[in-house]
Symmetry: C2
Subunit: 114 residues, 2 copies
């Protein structure tokens, strides 16, 4: 798991498109060919190819050449980066739920917080 800002940009950016999310969801079940992946969508093959490249660059899938075909497989690790970031936010947030405690123990409280 890398979890630097650039890779999170790429991962979340890749997941922001419904076609790419659907592609990834398909791959979660089994490896698939490019044509096979593109088939359910009403877009050209080059458009699908681009989506796949975006997912690959974000580290969310891996392509391997098999004859004249390309086998696409999901790489679950990159999703873990996104998950870890979200979890971090939620941990911070749940800690803040003890805000009253913090308030009562904070002598330097200046009263200018929202």
């Amino acid at each position: 798991m890398v979890n630097n800002s650039q890779s999170l940009d790429a991962v979340f950016g890749a997941l922001a498109d419904p076609t790419r999310r659907a592609i990834l969801m398909q791959l979660a079940d089994r490896p698939m060919w490019v044509t096979e992946l593109a088939e359910p969508f009403d877009i050209s093959l080059p458009a699908a190819s681009k989506h796949i490249r975006v997912l690959a660059r974000a580290g969310l899938l891996r392509q391997t050449k098999v004859g004249r075909n390309r086998k696409c497989e999901i790489v679950a690790d990159a999703l873990g980066d996104a998950q870890a970031w979200i979890n971090q936010v939620e941990i911070f947030w749940s800690e803040r739920l003890n805000a009253l405690d913090k308030f009562l123990n904070d002598d330097t409280q200046k009263g200018n917080q929202p």
Copy 2:
């Protein structure tokens, strides 16, 4: 939790920008004013205001007017949508790890899968 495709577009899209992720991470600790949120970043206030609007439209934060200020608070629910989607992918994927089982039990196996 809504978890429709459009709202996931908005949530993942909002999280795809490093400034917006940093804003959200700040808000995870405590509610903050717009100016206060914008201060750490080397961008104009209107730019920050736009980022905040993107986060708000994605349902990731809520703004309430307090005098001439705007208090920004994180809304953790929307993050749950993203988390749920990622979890779903990972569940599908972990089920597929039993692929050998599936293969052995599948009479209709045609052998044309990658």
